[in-house]
């Protein structure tokens, strides 16, 4: 197949790529440009470990085709930390014990990031609803709720 040229902002860098039209965004990120912080768990949009942020919205990268990100702003877990250190969500996930095996963590952090950017003062029910599309088998979700609440209170999300 003929590859398609696309241009996007990827983790704050202007980026030009050649992509196969059938590649998913997940495939592009993980296997073509080695951004392996975005995980793969089901390829059906059910587990959420591949969540990234496209133009401010949390997106399951296994459900989006690579050519669709042409002209967008994409942030992956690798692009979340800034020069002044980790995002408050990353810090809170570590400090509140919201990470056990950690395979779901990048997806949870990206989903929570997009959510907190729009909701500064969420209730626990709001958080639970927002994260419904992300599976965690280790923590029982409680410490994830606590971490997101702490990050929201820190206000830096």
């Amino acid at each position: 197949m003929t590859k398609m040229p696309i241009s996007l902002t990827l983790n704050e860098h202007a980026t030009t790529l050649e992509v196969e039209p059938y590649w998913t965004l997940q495939r592009l990120l993980r296997d073509e440009i080695d951004l392996t912080g975005t995980k793969e768990g089901c390829r059906t949009g059910n587990c959420g470990v591949c969540t990234v942020i496209v133009d401010g919205a949390a997106v399951k990268s296994c459900l989006m085709l690579a050519p669709q990100i042409d002209g967008t702003n994409v942030v992956t877990i690798e692009g979340l930390a800034r020069d002044n250190g980790l995002d408050p969500l990353q810090r809170a996930f570590v400090e509140y014990g919201a990470i056990q095996c950690g395979y779901c963590s990048p997806g949870f952090i990206m989903a929570a990031k997009a959510f907190l950017d729009e909701n500064r003062h969420p209730t626990r029910d709001d958080i639970a609803s927002a994260l419904e599309g992300n599976l965690c088998r280790c923590t029982g979700y409680v410490k994830i709720f606590e971490a997101v609440e702490a990050a929201a209170q820190a206000g830096g999300a």
Partner: protein, 772 residues
């Protein structure tokens, strides 16, 4: 050990060092490994539940551009592999026994090419009659899955015949006499439990590389690297020293990553292709062809006196272990775990595990625990109602106490926290639970995970090195599947050596670089591995103190070791940093400071005689309370509040401890309410995440976790196991709450709306008839 109450690291809610990597996407899992020239592997799987392989023609696939290797059963050694019983080959030879069994594999330039090549492999099958239920499988004329079963190598003695994988009997007292006692109340019910998937978020992944000398290195999501390498070596027909297995970060395990399945296939492909090969499983493959908790049918009869004394238990349990059994002797521990946390003088339990043409059975968090607990803890509730006694009181009356021989006969109970857990649960209920809403009920259940440690056969070792800057490196074979094993290792070394935990690095789970370790699991890793790390660190500590004493010209007893410094107690201005001591060591006859566990362990055993295997030193007990509401019209059960109190011996890390318990409870809630692998003629139907229903964030009830800390005698700093206990009794607690709410007993897990509604129709039809 450190006599001061202020601890360096133990007991604190410390974040895990690897969590920083995981939060930034920089932790490397097996599927993240990238090697130059790496190919993608794919597996061709059997479409038949039972068939003879007549022929395999892979010539067209092998000739395809971009295909570097095609492997079949001819490429794997004749030696069978398996976690406990060796009942399979990495790729099927001659016969397939379940839908999804690996038959051939391809390595190609990319995934799409590999997929197309699989379609070109032509396998001729001769279908054989298949059996899917244990009753069919033990019928006299049933097709036999493993004709050579009696000759298979097993890790423990087992009774094998026909399709019976194992049969275990547990016999105490005289059951028949006990049931014939006048004035006993007898109750009999049959309980059914489902196949449950581990459903870790990271599907299996392996990357295999072979060097020019034929030595293979495999990065794999396997929590028991020293066990896994044996299967790879046997499949390749090479010594284990030619296999290096590295377990990097693992994305969850829950029992499902304890044995080799795909790793030997990746290695065979890499050898044939002469290039590195990555093999990752799809979610469909995970659900349809990998291991799950075996389903069980448990017929249970018990007798109780009117005063609440349990007098007898008579039971038979049948497990469906599929075509390949990766459970430990199938039923050996489950026969006794049915007895639970209680003293019952007369017991007769027969447990049988049976091969069928279903997908393989394996370990899932607390193997055999949830099945047996559902039966026994449900049954106790019914017995309590029958004699008009509070269900918790019935449990209190019959609870095992220190000095009792635990039902397994494996030892005498000591350091029990059961009474304290029961007391705390009762106090919480009195304090927190007011009057119930309509159709709301309260259910209690007890959990018991018996650890039978044998420190003399600990199957683990550790090395601790003190570097010239005072930092510490621990070498341990233990894998971390998310449970925090590596942070535990760092904390223990930090505590013993008086070096801040940030200065301790853990080098782990690499069969070439680290000492032997049997494998993470069974809630005994902290106990076993924590102890050998403690012993190795103590050995290094002795060296530090001895060298410091020489330099400072004082007795070793005068010295205090904290925060990376050795100080003279009576004159703290006289001090040396650990870095100075370590540098000095290099110039001394002793050389670098290196502690190993072996000598210290032998000494401990000599001094304390704690090689005794006849004690249960670290029993893990918990008491659970579920508050659930049931809609009598639909049978929908929702858990409103959940409480658990667990004895953890000593919480080495509060965050990890409570995290294990919270996660375990929600794991148990999935088992209780929704999780079940459904199959038809051996084909798993809901082999995906939209039909196999896992708990998600909105399903989490208001959850309260309390800890009791009654230390073990020999665990590191008094620790006991934590991880299995919280998932065991949840289904029973919820079923008991349903009974309390509506007066109906649901006897099949998961407690789906259909099943609860069926129980209402059968046992309390008036609840439905009263409706307009």
């Amino acid at each position: 050990m450190t006599a001061t109450t202020e601890r360096q690291a133990i007991g604190k809610p410390l974040p895990k060092p690897d969590a920083w990597l995981k939060a930034t996407g920089t932790a490397v899992y097996a599927g993240d490994v990238r090697l130059p020239g790496m190919l993608e592997g794919k597996i061709l799987r059997s479409p038949h539940p039972h068939a003879r392989i007549v022929s395999i023609d892979a010539s067209a696939a092998a000739a395809m551009p971009g295909v570097y290797a095609v492997a079949t059963g001819d490429d794997v050694g004749a030696t069978r592999i398996g976690r406990f019983i060796r009942d399979r080959h990495a790729l099927a030879r001659e016969r397939v026994r379940y839908v999804g069994e690996p038959v051939a594999a391809v390595a190609a330039i990319d995934e799409e090419t590999a997929e197309r090549a699989l379609q070109l492999i032509n396998v001729a099958y001769d279908p054989l009659p298949a059996v899917f239920e244990p009753e069919e499988a033990i019928a006299p004329d049933a097709p036999i899955l493993h004709p050579d079963l009696p000759s298979y190598q097993d890790s423990a003695r087992s009774t094998r015949e026909g399709n019976v994988r194992n049969r275990v009997r547990h016999d105490v007292g005289d059951v028949d006499v006990a049931f014939a006692e006048p004035d006993v109340v007898v109750h009999e019910t049959t309980y059914r439990t489902p196949r449950q998937s581990q459903a870790f978020t990271e599907p299996h992944a392996a990357v295999a590389q072979i060097d020019g000398t034929g030595k293979v290195t495999v990065w794999a999501s396997i929590k028991a690297p020293f066990r896994g390498r044996v299967s790879i070596a046997d499949t390749l027909g090479v010594p284990v020293s030619h296999v290096r297995l590295i377990a990097p970060a693992i994305g969850g395990d829950f029992g499902g990553k304890g044995a080799a399945f795909i790793e030997p296939i990746a290695a065979v492909l890499a050898r044939k292709a002469r290039r590195p090969v990555r093999l990752t499983l799809s979610r469909v493959e995970e659900f349809s062809a990998m291991t799950s908790r075996p389903s069980a049918v448990i017929r249970l009869r018990m007798a109780v006196r009117h005063d609440g004394t349990l007098v007898a238990m008579d039971a038979s349990m049948v497990y469906n272990v599929g075509a390949v059994d990766d459970t430990q002797a199938g039923t050996a521990n489950s026969a006794v775990s049915l007895v639970g946390a209680y003293h019952i003088p007369n017991v007769r339990v027969e447990a049988t595990s049976v091969y069928t043409n279903c997908s393989p059975a394996g370990h899932v968090r607390a193997p055999s625990g949830p099945q047996t607990s559902f039966a026994t803890e449900s049954h106790l509730d019914r017995l309590a109602r029958m004699i008009g006694m509070d269900p918790l009181e019935l449990r209190e009356r019959n609870a095992l106490r220190n000095g009792d021989v635990v039902p397994s006969g494996h030892g005498i109970l000591q350091n029990s926290g059961l009474d304290e857990c029961l007391k705390r649960a009762r106090a919480w209920m009195a304090r927190e639970l007011g009057s119930k809403r309509p159709h709301q009920g309260i259910g209690t259940a007890v959990s018991f995970w018996a650890l039978h440690p044998n420190p003399a056969a600990v199957d683990s070792a550790a090395t601790v090195k003190v570097d010239v800057d005072g930092s510490v490196a621990v070498l341990t074979g233990v894998a971390d599947q998310g449970g925090g094993q590596w942070s535990m290792v760092g904390q223990v070394a930090s505590e013993v050596l008086g070096v801040p935990v940030e200065q301790v690095s853990v080098i782990a789970a690499d069969t070439e670089a680290t000492p032997y370790e049997q494998g993470t699991g069974g809630s005994n890793t902290t106990y076993r591995v924590g102890n050998v790390v403690r012993q190795a660190a103590e050995e290094a500590r002795r060296q530090v103190l001895r060298l410091a004493a020489e330099q400072l010209k004082v007795d070793e007893e005068e010295l205090d070791l904290r925060d990376g410094n050795v100080r003279v107690r009576s004159d703290p201005s006289r001090q040396l940093s650990v870095a100075q001591v370590a540098q000095g060591a290099l110039a001394s006859p002793a050389g670098a400071i290196i502690g190993t566990s072996g000598e210290a362990r032998e000494r401990e055993i000599r001094e304390h005689g704690h090689e005794r295997a006849d004690i249960v030193d670290a029993p893990s007990f918990a008491c659970h309370v579920a508050v659930a509401s049931v809609d009598p019209e639909t049978g929908v059960t929702s858990v409103d509040r959940y409480y658990t109190v667990q004895d953890v011996g000593r919480a080495l890390n509060l965050l990890n401890c409570t995290g294990q318990i919270e996660g375990g409870v929600i794991f148990g809630l999935g088992y209780a309410l929704t999780e079940e692998i459904q199959s038809d003629n051996g084909i798993n139907l809901n082999a995906n995440l939209w039909e196999y229903l896992l708990p998600t964030a909105p399903h989490v009830p208001e959850l309260t976790v309390e800890l009791v800390e009654i230390p073990s005698t020999f665990g590191p700093f008094g620790a006991k196991g934590v991880g299995e206990t919280p998932c065991i009794p949840v289904a029973a607690a919820v079923a008991n709450a349903i009974d309390d709410a509506l007066g109906v007993r649901a006897t099949q897990v998961p407690l789906t709306p259909e099943r609860v509604l069926a129980a209402i129709r059968e046992q309390r039809p008036e609840l439905l008839e009263n409706r307009a």
